[in-house]
Structure formats: C-alpha cells, structure tokens
Symmetry: C2
C-alpha cells in the first residue's frame, strides 16, 4: 500500500495529511493548526512532527511531500528562509524529515507545489502546461511546463508579482514602479482605496459605511465587497488591480503560451467585476493567435497538500 | 557518415548548408541566394531544392533541418504562412522535402531554430536554459528550457516583442500601446527619431547631417551611428528603446528565470550605449535574487542553419 504524507508549512498555519495512491481526492486523515505566535523554526518543526505522527497513526509513510511558504532549494530540499517565521535560514528540511520519519522526502515552495496540486488534482487536470497564480497578500506563481514543475535556473521562476506593467505606476516595496503585486494584491488595493477616500471626500460612500467610517478597517476583502455592491470608488480600485493582473497574464501568455492560467488566493473571490477585468486585459495584451483560458483554482487551502502528494507520487 | 542538410527560408534570402556530425562548426558546403522579387512559395521551393542538391553534391542527407521565417506547426512540419512571400499558407514543407530528398525532416520557425543554434553551437553553450531574442525590423524570441525548445501550447511562445512594458506608450501595429517591439525595433526607433527631429528643430544636428537633411534617409542603423557619435536626440531615442527591451527582459527573468539571454539582430550592433541601457533596465526590473546574464549572439546570419543542424542531429 502506497501511503503519502503531505505537509504544509504555511506562513500562519501548519497542516498534515495522509493520502493513498489513486485519484480519490480524499485524504485518509488531515490535521491543521495555527502556528504559535512568537514561534520559530524549531517550534514549527516540533508541532509539524507531532501532526505527522498523528495523521500517520502508527503507519509508515511511503514518501513525504512538503510545501513550504518561502524560498526553497528544491534539489536539496533546503529551506532558504521564511518571511514570516524566524530561524528558517538554511534549514535542511528534507534531510531532517527523512531522518525523523524514515521516508524519501521532497520539498518545494508553496507556489510551485500548489501549481502541481492544481495540475494533478484540480483545475489543471488534462492540461500539459499551466501557470498557477496566487493573488492575496502577495502575488506569486508556479509553472507546470510539459507536465513538470519549471523552477528556473536558480529556483526563482514564477515571480509575476514583480513583473512591471506600468513604469509610471506607484512604487512597490521591491523598489520598482508598477509591479503587478503593487497594483493587484489585497493590502495594496486597500491602501489605494484609503488614499482615494482621503482625497475624494464625496466618493465611496458605501465603502465608508462598510468600514464604519474608519479607514483602518479597510481591507482588500472590504474593497471587493463594496465593489460588488456597486460602490464607485471601490469599483475603480478593483478594476485597476484586475487590469494590472490581466496585463501581467497577457505578457506571460506572449512569453510562454501555456494552455491555462489557474488563479487562486483571497483576491480571486472578489466576484465577476474582478474576473472580467482580468480576462479582458489579458486577452487585449496577448496576441490574438496566443490561445489560453483563465480559470479559478479548485483546491483552495488544500492545494499545497495535494501538490505535496503529487510531488512524491512518482518517486 | 552522418550528413545533415540545413535549410534556411528567410524573408529575403534562401540558404542551404551541409554539416557532418561533430562540433567542428564548419560547414562542408554552403550556398546562399537572395529570394527573387515577386516570387512565391513555389519559386522559393524550387530554388531551395536546387541549392540543396548543389550542397549535397550527389550525396544522401542523413536528416534535414529547416528554419522558416514565419509561423510553423513544428509537430507536423507545416508552414502556416509567410509575412514576406505569398503562397505559403498551410504548405506541408516537411512532407514535401521528405518526398523530394528522401530523408527525415524537421521544420521550425526561425526564432526557435536560431535559439537552438546559439544554445548548441553559439553563445548558449554550457547552459540549460536560454532565451534568444532577435532585435531588428521586429522583436521576437525563442526559448530553450532544460535543453529543449519550448514552443508553447499552440506554438506561439517567445513573443517578447508584443509584451507590454508601458500601457501609456505609443500605439503598436498590433493595436496595443507600449509593446517592446514598438519601442525597441529598428524601424520604430527610426520613426521616433524622425518625429522628434520634426518637433525639435534645434536638436539632432549630427543625425541630420548623417541623413543628409532628408528624414526619409533615417534608419535604425543611422540612429545608432549618430548616437555612438554623441548626437543628443539619437541617444535619447536609443536609450528609450534599450530601456523598453531591458524591462521586457527583466520581466522574462522574473517569469521564467533562465540562465542566459542571448541577443542577436541588427539593433544589437548599436554599441555600448544600447547594451548598457538594456542591462541596466533588465537588472532593475528583475528581483535581486533572479540571476542571469545578457550576452550578444555569436553565430550571426548562420544561426538558423546551425540551429537546423541541431534540430535533427539527435533524431
């Protein structure tokens, strides 16, 4: 019996699951907890190990697939660092798990692993090449080309969030102007809405009400909600963000011509206004001969776990 | 003895060569002619067949590799069309050559084939992933990923020329604003220089002299020449073009993270001002962790012929 252990080290949560070989898309067992506040790599590892033992329930894993929320050297299974949790600099996670749980292990970053999950078990089934994009607090992506993850020469492929779509646009944290992430991520759309509310005292009445007249309450989700209820200012902000993401997707289509773009993450739940904006800008940007579709991710929060299964099922 | 026949159907020229197995980078024989004016697919095919028989000199080809200057279905070896020569719509070139010359044949478009040539015999030797970009009357590209050409889901990958780098930029023939090709190709840089010379009567004195005070004489090459001699207006135009190309390259690096960018085509002969502008903008656009180099192509006009050899040497 093949029994795969899937582990997901997210920024704020830890999850473990066991899946058996086949296409059932049901985990045998599944556990998920929040990361402790003020935790570090060591506490995360200890908690994950106890989750793993719990889901395995005394059985032996055939192989272990791991999704990590941060840069990873996939060839050695070494974590380079975490942007959320301290102490993850150059941790040999694969080696450590192989020693503790005695099974061959593969580790990759969450965007690549989620891409693999959607490709193998989700919205990308039946395709040979997809670009999975997560749009939430950040904007990142993972490629599947010809049925395999494409990680790039030094593991950095998929960074659509920091491609430039408007050199005269607003300044991104990375130091450049007009990055996709700077225009389309949730926190930046919230920031944009706040600044427009301040400079246009008559606009965005509905958004103001939803935020109880407190700018600090404004989130990307609230902007989406207000936009779907018809708020003028929120619609402008959401349209601008969706257009930027669409131009980025159209550029990716011209560069690589994948069959399918799969979009996940909180911002993609913003409704039809968002999706229409993304699709329109992507089709306008790509050459007419470049064929592709843009569809929502299917697996949601458990995409990294299913991707972790896919990472090792052919070992 | 392995004897490869390489054929290059360019827009304005036809070339044929024979190479033997090995890394000598010397053709056994080579012939090149201009395409006849007012010719069509049929005359091109007849001329190419006689060139092929000439370079083969009575011997039999082991395999035939073909570079075609236009969209090709590489899986079937069918030409979709030529933008330069009439009558090429849906021509089964591979089938036709296999029947005439009795050897297994592979056909691909010139950007992919030149990329393969540079990868196997030119500036890309020793790398596993490169993006070859030709910058001349148009701007196009071809990918080698993990040692193999990446053509995209419907054969359209590599279209860097029509990725958008400035949504408020000038209108491109494709209908969008701020495409790389609209800012960095030779004819468009010439057009930009002409329009600046008209609106700024005091600027560009050196360029005016080189053009003998006739705007119709201005070409991309003349702009480069004037820029390298210090002409203010020509330098501005060249810097703008090189910056646009550099942003496109930086975006490609963030998306795909190849080891190397190889640049060929007439515009890349514009000198240090051009190369510095491209490299600076590319490094500014790519995330600091994304590593890559940008180097000149090595094979020049015969890249498609060497690429055609590479296309079939492992058949």
């Amino acid at each position: 019996m093949f029994r795969y252990l899937a582990l997901d080290f997210g920024g704020t949560k830890l999850a473990a699951a066991v899946a058996e070989k086949g296409n059932s898309r049901q985990f045998q067992s599944y556990r998920r907890v929040l990361s402790p506040e003020n935790g570090d790599a060591k506490t995360d590892l200890e908690i994950m190990l106890s989750l793993a033992r719990e889901v395995l329930d005394g059985s032996q894993a055939t192989a272990i697939g791991v999704s990590f929320g941060g840069p990873v050297d996939a060839t050695t299974g070494t974590v380079r660092l975490s942007h959320h949790v301290s102490g993850w600099e150059n941790v040999p996670l694969r080696q450590w798990l192989e020693a503790e749980l005695n099974a061959p292990t593969r580790v990759d970053n969450d965007a690549n692993v989620a891409a693999l999950g959607e490709y193998r078990f989700g919205a990308g089934r039946g395709c040979r090449s997809i670009f999975y994009i997560t749009v939430s607090t950040g904007v990142g992506g993972g490629w599947i080309l010809d049925g395999r993850p494409w990680r790039g020469a030094n593991g950095m492929a998929g960074e659509i969030g920091h491609t430039v779509v408007d050199p005269n646009g607003p300044m991104c944290l990375c130091g450049k102007r007009g990055c996709v992430e700077r225009l389309a991520s949730g926190p930046y759309m919230a920031q944009e809405a706040r600044s427009r509310l301040q400079s246009q005292p008559q606009a965005g009445q509905l958004l103001r009400r939803l935020a109880e007249n407190n700018l600090a309450n404004i989130t990307g989700q609230l902007v989406s909600e207000a936009a779907s209820q018809g708020d003028d200012l929120a619609r402008e902000v959401l349209e601008r963000g969706s257009r930027a993401l669409g131009v980025g997707i159209g550029n990716a289509a011209n560069f690589i011509n994948p069959e399918l773009f799969v979009l996940g993450g909180g911002v993609t739940k913003a409704g039809e206004l968002f999706w229409e904006g993304v699709r329109r800008a992507a089709k306008q940007t790509a050459l007419p001969e470049v064929e592709f579709e843009i569809v929502p991710a299917e697996l949601g929060d458990i995409a990294p776990l299913w991707g972790a299964v896919a990472l090792v099922e052919d070992l």
